[in-house]
């Protein structure tokens, strides 16, 4: 049982700073994902928590005890590595029991503990095999088992599923989440796959260039992205971004995006003739045809390509002078190219300050 507090955490490699003062609190039993593009510092942060990287400044505490200078072996954290890092010369059972053996746990007890976890992970038939005789998915399970057997305070996962094929990845995703719920162990999960982060986490930390962009529950990030980075990072296909001009005239203030005009509610205090950045998710567009019925709040859309994915249909084309992606549930049978209209409900139109991308709200 452990809560984690990270405060003012920094990491330099020589003169290059890669983590710029992170603050984060992780509650006991929470499943938290660190997500971001490669090089954003997510793995470095995880390795600092594990004790595999030195801390340049700031503190990491577990249960209010600072662990900056505690050796990895004394942190009571278990890590599942991206490449599994199984001991190739030890059997599955020996791999899983390694940490218990180091703590001088009795042989019989190790056997029972390993047996229980192997049962949990369907590894019982493979206990006497060497890792080389296992499939990728089985090796992944052994790596998980090795972490679970010792009942650590914290699980650390470093992109553990990225080497599995798509189907297995989905299956393991569910299994890891179910196991974590059952064990109630605080878990930190690094991934670059937003589907993994969205489906597994209690909360997600979005990192960008060594800074936290936003921390929140998956749906919070999706519904109320704190800034443009989060807005375009979460969601697939990615959110469409437009530059809109604020027009003030008779009948109130409006926002103009290409051919469309949207009423701007009075709570937005934006200067006249200023521009704001508008984001609309592909799945929040409604498609209508043809352009003849164009109203004030409809965007002309020239459809160029239709991509059926089965569950959804993705439409690609141009609107307001840029590439736009639309995702719909219906199976549309337009001929391409076609001239269509797009509309979106006000609560799905996100506004961001143009200067720094900070969220302003929805219309």
């Amino acid at each position: 049982m452990a809560n984690l507090a990270i405060s003012g955490l920094r990491k330099n490699y020589g003169t290059v700073e890669v983590i710029h003062g992170l603050d984060l609190t992780i509650e006991d039993g929470e499943f938290i994902s660190l997500i971001g593009e490669s090089g954003c510092g997510k793995s470095t942060l995880l390795r600092m928590i594990a004790g595999l990287e030195d801390i340049s400044a700031g503190t990491i505490s577990v249960n209010d005890r600072v662990i900056n200078d505690v050796e990895p072996k004394n942190r009571d954290m278990a890590m599942v590595f991206q490449n599994y890092a199984l001991y190739p010369h030890l059997t599955v059972a020996e791999n899983m029991g390694f940490s218990l053996k180091l703590r001088n746990v009795e042989k019989a007890q190790i056997k029972t503990a390993v047996g229980e976890v192997a049962e949990m992970l369907n590894l019982t038939p493979y206990l006497d095999r060497l890792p080389r005789a296992l499939s990728g998915g089985q090796r992944q399970r052994v790596a998980m088992g090795r972490a679970i057997v010792r009942r650590p305070q914290v699980f650390l996962f470093d992109e553990p599923l990225s080497n599995l094929d798509a189907k297995l990845r989905v299956q393991m995703r569910v299994e890891i989440r179910a196991l974590q719920r059952r064990l109630g162990t605080t878990s930190i999960y690094v991934t670059h796959d937003q589907m993994e982060a969205m489906t597994m986490s209690d909360r997600i930390v979005i990192l960008n260039k060594g800074r936290i962009e936003q921390v929140g529950s998956p749906l919070e990030l999706y519904d109320r992205p704190a800034n443009l980075f989060v807005a375009t990072f979460i969601g697939s296909p990615a959110m469409n971004i437009f530059q809109a001009i604020v027009e003030r005239g008779e009948g109130g203030t409006h926002l103009r995006i290409g051919s469309a005009r949207f009423r701007l509610p009075p709570q937005f205090d934006i200067g006249k003739d200023a521009t704001v950045t508008v984001g609309i998710r592909p799945e929040h567009f409604e498609v209508s045809e043809p352009a003849g019925a164009a109203g004030e709040d409809k965007l002309d859309f020239r459809l160029e390509l239709i991509e059926p994915t089965g569950a959804e249909t993705h439409l690609y084309g141009a609107a307001a002078g840029q590439m736009v992606t639309v995702a719909v549930r219906d199976r549309l049978s337009f001929r391409t190219p076609a001239q269509l209209s797009l509309s979106a409900r006000p609560e799905h139109i996100h506004l961001f300050r143009e200067k720094d991308g900070t969220r302003l709200g929805t219309l």
């Binding site: 990895p72 890092a85 190739p88 180091l102 090796r139």
Partner: protein
Amino acid sequence: MSPRSLKSIGGKVGTGFAITVLLIWSLGPIYWSVVTSLTSPTDLISSTPRFWPSHVTFEHYARLFGSTSLSQGNEVQSVWPQFSAALINSLITSAVATLLTVGIAAFSAYAFVRMRFPGRDLLFVLVVATLAIPAYTVMIPLYRLMISLKLVDTYLGVSLIYVSAFLPLALWLMRSVYQAMPLSLEEAAWLDGASKLYTLVRIVMPLAAPGLIAAAIITFLNAWGQFLIPLVFSPTLATKPLTVLIPEFVGRNYVDYGLINAAGIVAIIPPVLVVLLLNRFLVSGLMAGATK
């Protein structure tokens, strides 16, 4: 015939030729030595060279192993006492040098790869650079040093010189072996609660075994074949190895080709056995299954 099949035949002929030349180059001297050791002294000085003796004789081996034997019609003392002492000396100095060299290299190479300390890479380069120093240049100062330490003509002294001579190569080899190993395995062990030393001995070294074996083979063969160092530092049969003893069969008036070659043939048996034995452990694929 198509040009293509001509080309492939040409390639095969070329490969066969190269292999033949290589075999003659490496096995030819050994074959010549075997034949000489089985030829009677009178045939040895005949003017027509032969590829196989007209009468096979074991008299040279008898002089090597027997208690007394006939040489040029006279009964003489066998050389077995000297020969066996030198054989044991060769075995001891080579084995001690190999164990020390591989043992030191196994730990210190790891430090050069995984530990951070100031001047690490410079120190490594300096150690490896000693490979470029010819043994002759240090022989005299080394001799004075060994005399003052009373280490001349002792197993320890000779072995230590071997270690200092062969360690850089073994160190270099082990460093690249460790560098090629995934760090995540060691990190996994540390997080599992293992100390650095435990991780090195129980996780890293078993996986680096092929490298350790290769280092052992190279060191043993190098030590076994040493001539100059024992010539200077092993003046008596207390530590004199075969490489120094065998040329002494050349007398003032008579070169005993048969005996020299018989002894030479016996002298290559131990290294061949060592290589055959160690080679069985020189398997690849130990790392299979560790990752992905």
